[in-house]
């Protein structure tokens, strides 16, 4: 089972500097071709202050610790991400210094076709130098038991 006391647990904040190189490598990894992720000039022409980050880039930003590691999963259990939500107050661009915090927003049991399943909800937020909220991220992780027959379905 999961450590239910984990709910409400918070990580220490950590400052993440958004670097052009990190954006480039992320863009390359996902096969992006849009020059606004690679070239300063193209990003400026499109109205951004500098090279802009793809929408799922906040997944690369980290708080002070990874809360998934403190969940004390039983042997054979593992986490698989099932949902992701992002909200953006503004685009993230190279040069941003974002302070990222993370917390366990919930540990719940949900009914699924294969019976009750534990899920862990982790929420992150990133704020800029002036304390303004830049993005919020919410991840839903399913605690999964090693399946006898993997069927490639995340919610069985």
């Amino acid at each position: 089972m999961v450590d239910r006391n984990a709910a409400g647990r918070e990580s220490k904040p950590a400052v993440n500097e958004v670097e052009k190189g990190a954006i480039r490598r992320f863009a390359e990894a996902i096969g992006e071709t849009n020059p606004i992720y690679y070239e300063e000039a193209a990003a400026r022409a499109a109205g951004y202050r500098s090279v802009v980050a793809p929408p799922t880039f906040p997944t690369t930003l980290r708080a002070g610790s990874d809360l998934r590691e403190g969940l004390m999963l039983a042997p054979g259990k593992h986490l698989l991400q099932a949902e992701q939500n992002f909200e953006y107050a503004r685009p993230i661009v190279a040069g941003d210094k974002l302070t990222v915090r993370s917390k366990v927003a919930g540990v719940e049991q949900r009914a699924t076709p294969s019976g009750p399943t534990d899920v862990v909800i982790i929420e992150d937020e990133g704020r800029d130098d002036s304390g303004e909220l830049v993005y919020r991220s919410r991840q839903l992780w399913v605690v999964r038991m090693a399946p006898k027959h993997a069927q490639g379905d995340m919610h069985e």
Binding site: A22, R25, F26, E28, A29, I30, G31, E32, T33, N34, P35, I36, A41, A42, R44, A45, A46, G47, Y48, R49, P54, P55, T56, T59, T60, R62, G76, H78, L79, L80, Q81, A82, E83, Q84, N85, F86, E87, Y88, A89, R90, P91, V93, G95, A146, P147, K148, H149, A150, G152, D153, M154, H155
Partner: protein, 270 residues
Amino acid sequence: MSSRSAAKKISRAAPKPAAKVAARSTRKKPKAKLAKVTRFPASKMRKPLPPARKAPQPLAKKAQPSQTPAPALGAPKQVQLPKQSLARSFYWSELRVGDDLPPLTKPAVDRVQIVRYAASSGDFNRLHLDEPYSHGLGFPGLFAPGMLAMAFVGQLLTAWLRRGHVRKLSARFVKIVWPGDELTCRGRIAELRKEHGACYADVELWAENQKGELVLRGQATCELYESPQAGGVDGGGLLFALQHSGPAHPSQPGRKAAPSSRGRPAPKKR
């Protein structure tokens, strides 16, 4: 700085622009894609892109013929093309509920891409990297993180959106993406709304594999310029984008002096 390095710089200065031009022109592919996207809203219109720049402001969204800011897409210099195609966005007033976004078919996901994604995202979950480990947990092998498929959908969205901005993006990972899977991402406009003077499009997104199975289902909320007039001149309904980007509107090079109030003060010192 020694005079030698200065000399080096000078001697290198000449070939550089030529190399840049070459580099730009070899990167034709994305341009072609962008050009395609450009035509997307126009295909729903009766008139194909009249160049009229100063059409009257939109009264109702349906009466708006598609109007493009004048930068002639027809006679571009190769070097200028990327900028112009980026400048050419479309507008909220031109969208219709039910419109499809141009689909995006990605090359098959392979193990190298999965490793690269892990490295660039900093998430080294063994399920996606360690074949014996995922085998041990009952999977036939390693598989791609759902976030990779979500990134593909994000690519579809931002390629379509151009100068608009994503305000929300969410996804549910429905089916596992295996190495070798070829994903096609699709989207459709679900709702168009205006709130506090800003224009939003809610978009449904999904991705399917080569067998036609749904692997991801998502939604996005995007903020767009209402019309060329609103977007081009003073930032119109875009609430937040210009605060951080300055009014660097590409079709108005004369205004370039303005943005300095925010950005970096660096260039002043030599």
